[in-house]
Symmetry: C2
Subunit: 343 residues, 2 copies
DNA sequence: GTGAAAGCGCTAACAT
DNA sequence: ATGTTAGCGCTTTCAC
């Protein structure tokens, strides 16, 4: 069919392995020979066949990232981190959308094994953990990103939601607020715990009426805020533990605060960098999505390279940012250069 | 290394091709034999080696999507359309981010040819058109998505920005507005033309002072609105021709309109479905991203299958939506089932 | 520094 | 309905 390495070899008057060496920089080749080979490649418009190379060498130089929702900016940012790290080593990244559906996930993984993918970064559902365990037997290294699976022996990289939630709650307390509401999703247990623990540690009893859990959508965030505002007295501060809920909640709070003498204070896990320009004043925890991707990929490469690795679970710090003045104040942590710490 | 088809064949007591037939449903196999083979596969945890299959059969069942910015919801939605269509045919989708950088694009395409990718959906820069022409010689079919390249003989699928811009402008005129400002990006020429043409056709001379072109960012959108508001008299309506500019512009307009007796009317190209809930009243043109992906992929498969195809350039209609009442009114076009029309 | 030979794991083309 | 044979295009191994 297409032009093969053999054609290049004949045209350059050399043998097959020599062409291979030139292409892969695999061994020293006489500059003259090399030039002849390159000329032949150029003349014939030769492009190597990766399938043949993979079959023989048993490497694909490809890794995969399986995320629940590629439409979310968090995951696309994480992808960028993975991509940058992979590209630098000549690897390609295969992206898959799982929608947190174990069936879809399993189908993707089957495909990845067929393709002899070398490594997998994944945000798994709890159900997929057993599946992941078996992967290593199939020759595929694996790193869990962003999601916590305590007790599981698979490598993971995520950010420290608990500590951030403590900081955010402490910030609200320090500003003098006492009726602090919490809005979050089912899965945000750590953040809720941090809220509870911090209030309790400061000597305040958390009011169950101020805690609202909902499914992750903008509408729900909006409605939960509206419901909390009907309380009397209403909360004097709100902690929103999820990005998606926050989008709706901030809208409702923006409107409400415009009509109040004393605005309701806001703390939120809020990633939408582009939109934070238009957020009301608040303190935000911003997750280092890019870094989670980069560090995750690096860990994968360390494993692939057989490097000894000191710990399996890596925690990164979130960026804490105060939004609302002309210049946002931050905790000085640029997510691009947080240094990972082990657990 | 890993377990091969040969091992499966031996264990099941059959020959290699029989195992291959079972795996690929390629020919009728005796149910008993088939069961034995499947049992062997299960017992040995066998997964076929795609590289070997590709090498022999010269097919990869993979297509690629190269977009400028995976962080934009427009492109991720388009990806979903491509994915759904591809998955249904057992194809995988390889995603690449070009950042509109011809160098990055070229590197991706090189990789795709190496991997013997069968088809490419791409949002190219003008510079990449010659590159694309050569692709078909390398055995890779290609469809341009979303971007207009008139006169180029490569298949394309995009939505009809001109017509939508006419409708939006007419809508503003019909509502009695005469000082209609235009905000857009450099690349939005068609939309600007439509605006011009519509005003002129209605007998109004476009005022150059009301036309502002800027780079695509939220901040710029905001600033352009603010600048227009300083005119006296200010515009009584604004047409924002780009999604990203609109995010900032809507913020500024929302604030301004809150303080005005007669609000400034708004028309915009605005895709952010999730956020449109929180947009001020306006008429919006929403591009059928999902459908562009789906139709683009279908076109690619038609070409791959050698089907005769009636036209190379496909135009889809945008959804026109009036946002602002309790229930948004639309033009009745659900982007999921617009029927493509040729040009 | 370069070449000859072998073979990676699978499917296509035949034969039966 | 199943088996035999050959070979896809490359890299590896080992000569020299």
């Amino acid at each position: 069919m297409a032009v093969t390495m053999k054609a290049v070899a004949e045209r350059a008057g050399v043998s097959l392995p020599t062409v291979s060496r030139v292409i892969n920089d695999a061994a020293y080749v006489n500059p003259e020979t090399r030039a002849r080979v390159l000329a032949a490649i150029e003349a014939l418009q030769y492009v190597p066949n990766q399938a043949a190379a993979s079959l023989r060498s048993n490497t694909t130089k490809t890794l995969a990232l399986l995320v629940p929702d590629i439409a979310s900016s968090f995951w696309t940012t994480l992808l960028r981190g993975v991509e940058d790290e992979a590209m630098a080593r000549g690897f390609h990244v295969f992206l898959g959308n799982t929608d947190d559906d174990p069936g879809k996930e399993a189908r993707y993984i089957e495909g990845l094994i067929r393709r002899r993918n070398e490594g997998l970064l994944i945000a798994p559902t709890p159900k997929s953990i057993p599946l992941l365990r078996r992967l290593e037997q199939q020759g595929m290294r694996c790193v869990i990103v962003h999601r916590p699976f305590p007790g599981v022996e698979i490598d993971s990289v995520r950010s420290d939601a608990y500590t951030s939630a403590v900081i955010l709650t402490q910030h609200l307390l320090a500003a003098g607020h006492r009726r602090i509401a919490f809005i979050g999703g089912e899965a945000e247990q750590r953040r809720l715990c941090a809220y509870h623990d911090t209030l309790t540690a400061a000597g305040y009893a958390p009011d169950p009426a101020l805690v609202r859990i909902g499914t992750l959508s903008e509408r729900v965030g909006e409605h939960l805020v509206e419901a909390l505002l009907t309380l009397s007295p209403p909360p004097d501060a709100m902690f929103i533990g999820n990005n998606r809920l926050a989008a709706g909640a901030l809208h409702a709070l923006g409107k409400a605060n415009a009509e109040r003498a004393t605005p309701i204070a806001i703390a939120a896990f809020y990633d939408s960098a582009a939109l934070s320009t238009y957020a009301p004043p608040m303190i935000a925890a911003i997750q280092p999505a890019y870094e989670i991707g980069r560090v995750g990929a690096r860990r994968l490469f360390d494993r692939l390279g057989g490097k000894p690795v000191e710990s399996r679970h890596i925690l990164l710090a979130n960026q804490i940012m105060v939004i609302g003045g002309p210049e946002p104040r931050t905790n000085g942590i640029d997510p691009r250069d947080v240094s990972p710490y082990a657990v």
